[in-house]
Symmetry: C2
Subunit: 552 residues, 2 copies
């Protein structure tokens, strides 16, 4: 048996069901071996960032890793940003990177580069180049064990072509996953003491603590002891909606987060990082923990967060408390000219049962949390590492992990363009994804950031040109159609609702391009001079119609 | 003056004219400073691979580096593949990567990652994180000096946000570029001896040797001494066409390259690497130098290749020889159903004066060299590092470097999808690029490679599915239109020629999607069963038309 066959059988035996691929020549033996293993599904992407982002989204929903198959250092580079998001989200990924045959490396051929060096950026805990066909299956098991441990991580296995094609491969079995320990009794007792002290306390929940069991345990503690429940700013996966305990997320803007955190004297971390500003700004603090507030760790990412919360609840005598649950309360149907908040409202109004919501909408999604708070129970996946281009690939992975659940991805125009190729994989695999692209024709968040870093007046024309996506305006419906995805554009709330209902009712992927100028006033200010200049060259009836529209 | 202003002024003083950008928050001070430096043009890309590929293409044609502006480790990751191509092509790039403020790094915020580690993959010779605003301008000068030396390289300057926004910046001047030494007299004399020995000798030209002065010197040597002129397989930039010496490129397929190299007892390298196989294959040699042939270096990449060739010509008494020049001889106008060779023929037939041809057409471009050999003089840019997704970005950079020259990029369908966002920048900047996409609906080269690595029978259906780009078929004309680029599809040679003439006659970017099944027989074999299955469900007239077409 050659190495590739042994590897693939080992992966399948260990429960790996999907490999997200963008292979090249050095991976052809892996590709050729796929047909002999019916348990492993290979999903092709046209760009590596789609493959890695899909592996991330898949693992968040499946609760176990997928594999990737990438082509040498350059393929890994292309996939790096979404592996970064997985790393920051503590998501397990078994990252397989093909390499030249071991004897070929010395010749420094065109595609030769230092793969391990790049891999360390996203796989600080496990990078290994398999040295022999005989050792390959064990290397894969070691990588898998590293990936799926607590905290989950991206484990990178570099696979030289000759190790893959060589004979003498032998599949080997992965050990069962070992359970993580909960917080020790002393820590629980100390923290219970703090909670009982009557000082203002917040529980900051992250990672594993944001699924139902953790949320319920935390909500019992809150009900009994009056502690505040907070969630980290960008959860890996969060269960929410009607019937689940509601938790407030820390705001992205440091200014707002400081307000949220100001009341507390104690911040208790449960599989979460102590909150810091996303970026640094001149003259402002990066650490968001207020003066006089101390930070304590109930459960680290390497511990069992749910058991730790349950232990704390028990220590407080809260195990029998009734957790406060979010009542069902969807917003009304929006009407009139489409805006970003109306898109969020429409999503809240129409959200189906058991949806998976992928949020990479940046500024346009500000109202999404509020609008969907009382919608039917759903999962939320967010941009854990800040590397934009995560939304569409993540939706691919989530849809493959949960084929019977609707996936709704809300993505900013700028973000979507990093990995727009994901649409093709959605069409190819017939995935039940509705991609909603907020087209406001700008890197809107950067307009905010340009002000925040202190650039007086928001910069000159060259600076502002770096943030706008007009000239030419992108047409996402056309892009989607060019990749085989059904797509429509909407500029009214009514049109958007109709399109969303249509998409939810029909299998396969759909794209809805939401045309949402940030504000009517802003859009007019920007578009008016151009329009007025263009008017004389237009047919009189058209010019009149535009005049009525833009200058009523 | 803040660091950003000092940096930008230093770059402009040193002759840097363009920065290819995809900035984020940590680069906002750099962005805000752009308006104060009219000499620096900022060109926005929607994806970092476009920015880095454009910097590569720009430098190849401008003969001096552009800068990039990327956003932290993830932005660098996204740009890595095309920086790899630049590195392998010895192309100078000043790679500027924004980072968190120095005091923010300790907090391991969402976007924090080890940038220097990633950068070493493409910038082994120069990676530096600027430590203070006062030192920034000198750091930039050091990076620039490293980038533009011989051999050219990618020099990476990591720019922390506070170094950029801090006050106390002071521009500084870059030293003039120091000339590279030619081969020493003894080497020239020894090699002249070899050439005179009468044994079969080939000159393998690369890098700087493939522009007119080097070609002419080499052709004089060939005329006098009967040596063979070869060019490396993937030249960074090669001047060719009517009126220039013709040089045969080493073939991509090792099997063919071996035949080309077999006659020679001596191979003389001139700014070129000793030829090796692109990939390794089971049971085949990676080193393409035949048994009994010895390799000698006339000029290394760190030496002046042109002066070295001229010295060799002088030593041989060949300085006054007439170089054999390629006569003007364009192919005829192709007719009938469009195929990949007919596209190449049409390009050869219609190629305008002083065109820049970017070749990333992989299998579809096999006939391009032959078909354009006698076309008007042009520059050829190729895929130096094997990391696909280089063609369209490279065309962006070439068009910005040479606004008065037509750029014609021939790109495979698979390749183009890695950096398809380049089309938007072409439209935004109104670049004179004609992008020709060969749509054969497959990773065609991998079908060849699957056979070559020895996968019996070309793999099963799962393996083959990894190589095909059908289901859904991509529509590149729609993709282009969605990004504001004029586009048409052609499936006849007549239609292609008309579209190409139209594009060449009108400014701004154009895309022509060439619908080219690899071979009619191959396409039929693949499509026929599906077609026949589909026929009963189609309207009778359509079914009849298809039947006539596919089974005459």
């Amino acid at each position: 048996m050659n190495g590739a066959h042994a590897l693939i059988q080992t992966l399948a035996d260990a429960g790996i069901e999907v490999v997200f691929t963008n292979p090249g020549t050095s991976e052809m033996h892996f590709v050729a071996a796929l047909d002999d293993e019916p348990r492993l599904r290979a999903v092709l992407a046209l760009f590596e960032g789609v493959a890695t982002g899909a592996a991330d989204g898949y693992a968040r929903m499946a609760g176990k890793p997928a594999a990737t198959l990438l082509h040498l250092g350059c393929g890994l580079g292309n996939g790096l940003a979404n592996l970064h998001n997985a790393r920051k989200g503590k998501v397990p990924v078994l990252n397989i990177v093909g390499d030249h045959a071991t004897h070929h490396v010395q010749y420094d051929a065109q595609l030769q580069s230092d793969i391990e060096t790049v891999a360390r950026n996203v796989s600080p805990g496990f990078v290994r180049t398999s040295q022999s066909t005989a050792a390959l299956a064990q290397d894969a098991v070691d990588a898998l064990v590293a990936a799926r441990g607590l905290p989950g991580q991206v484990a990178t296995l570099v696979l030289p072509a000759d190790v893959s094609w060589g004979e003498g491969g032998l599949p080997c079995a992965a050990p069962p996953a070992s359970p993580a320990p909960p917080a020790d009794a002393q820590t629980v007792a100390q923290i219970a003491e703090l909670v009982r002290s009557g000082e203002p306390v917040a529980l900051l929940l992250g990672g594993q603590a944001l699924l139902e069991p953790g949320l319920v345990a935390a909500a019992r503690i809150a009900a009994q002891a009056g502690v505040k429940l907070l969630a980290e700013c960008f959860p890996t996966r969060m269960e929410r909606g009607a019937g689940l305990p509601a938790v407030e997320r820390i705001a992205y803007l440091a200014e707002l987060a400081s307000v949220q955190l100001a009341p507390f004297r104690h911040l208790l971390l449960v599989d979460a990082k102590s909150p810091v500003s996303f970026f640094a700004y001149p003259g402002r603090q990066s650490d968001l923990v207020p003066e006089g507030c101390t930070v304590h760790t109930l459960a680290s990412p390497a511990q069992d967060a749910v058991a730790s919360l349950q232990a704390l609840a028990a220590a407080l005598g809260a195990s029998g408390e009734a957790a406060a649950l979010q009542p069902a309360r969807a917003p009304g149907r929006p009407r009139g000219r489409l805006t970003a908040p109306k898109v969020c409202k429409a999503v809240g109004h129409l959200l189906p049962e058991r949806a998976i919501v992928v949020d990479e909408a940046i500024t346009s999604g500000l109202m999404l949390g509020v609008m969907t708070a009382g919608s039917p129970r759903h999962d939320l996946i967010t941009l854990t590492g800040g590397a934009i281009g995560q939304g569409l690939p993540s939706a691919v992975g989530a849809a493959i992990a949960c084929p019977d659940r609707p996936v709704i991805a809300l993505v900013g125009d700028g973000s979507s363009m990093y990995t727009i190729q994901a649409l093709w994989t959605m069409a190819r695999e017939g995935l039940n994804v509705t991609a909603i692209i907020f087209n406001n024709a700008s890197y809107s968040v950067l307009n905010v950031e340009l002000e925040r870093v202190g650039a007086a007046g928001g910069g000159g024309p060259k600076a502002r040109a770096q943030l706008d996506l007009q000239g030419p305006a992108l047409n996402f419906a056309q892009l989607a159609q060019g990749m085989g995805v059904h797509a429509v554009r909407a500029d009214t709330a009514e049109g958007f609702c109709r399109a969303f209902e249509y998409a939810l009712a029909r299998p396969g992927p759909h794209l809805i391009e939401a045309l949402v100028p940030e504000s009517l006033a802003g859009a007019k200010r920007r578009v008016l001079p151009w329009m007025l200049r263009a008017l004389p060259s237009l047919p009189p009836a058209v010019a009149l119609a535009i005049k009525r529209k833009i200058a009523p």
